[in-house]
């Protein structure tokens, strides 16, 4: 499953395009976000992707959010992991 890393500076429209592409190809995609800004952009991107996928008549996207411990520059960070699937 493809993993998309989303930052607070990420463009929700671009991320939503990547979500739609990955879901069409693999049926699911995983997104990682660290911090409130990144989580917010991820949720906006998923909401946009959902709208676009449902407009195309496909079945609704399901989202499963969870926690994930990541090591970044030797520091342990708690990320939010979103699994998005049809």
């Amino acid at each position: 499953m493809e993993i998309l890393k989303v930052a607070s500076r990420s463009n929700p429209n671009s991320v939503s395009g990547a979500i739609v592409g990955a879901v069409e190809q693999d049926g699911a995609v995983e997104l990682h976000a660290i911090g409130a800004g990144a989580v917010n952009q991820t949720v906006k991107a998923i909401a946009i992707a959902r709208r676009s996928i449902e407009r195309d008549g496909a079945s609704a996207l399901k989202v499963i959010p969870g926690f994930l411990e990541l090591e970044i520059d030797g520091e342990s960070k708690t990320a939010i992991r979103f699994v998005v699937e049809t």
Copy 2:
């Protein structure tokens, strides 16, 4: 369906308890969040609720995020709406 309004100051553990209670009672609950901090607390609360519900052997929570236009103090604001259901 019960509507929970989540703020950036909301405690994710308390919100998660409210989610679990509402889902056990009605099978679904709706959460509204305005702004990155509130969206982040909402996602954390859903992730905690999911963990607790799955530990109890119930089926996984599904989340459906979308946009919502709200009028607050005469001003139009775009909120994120999360529908959480089993």
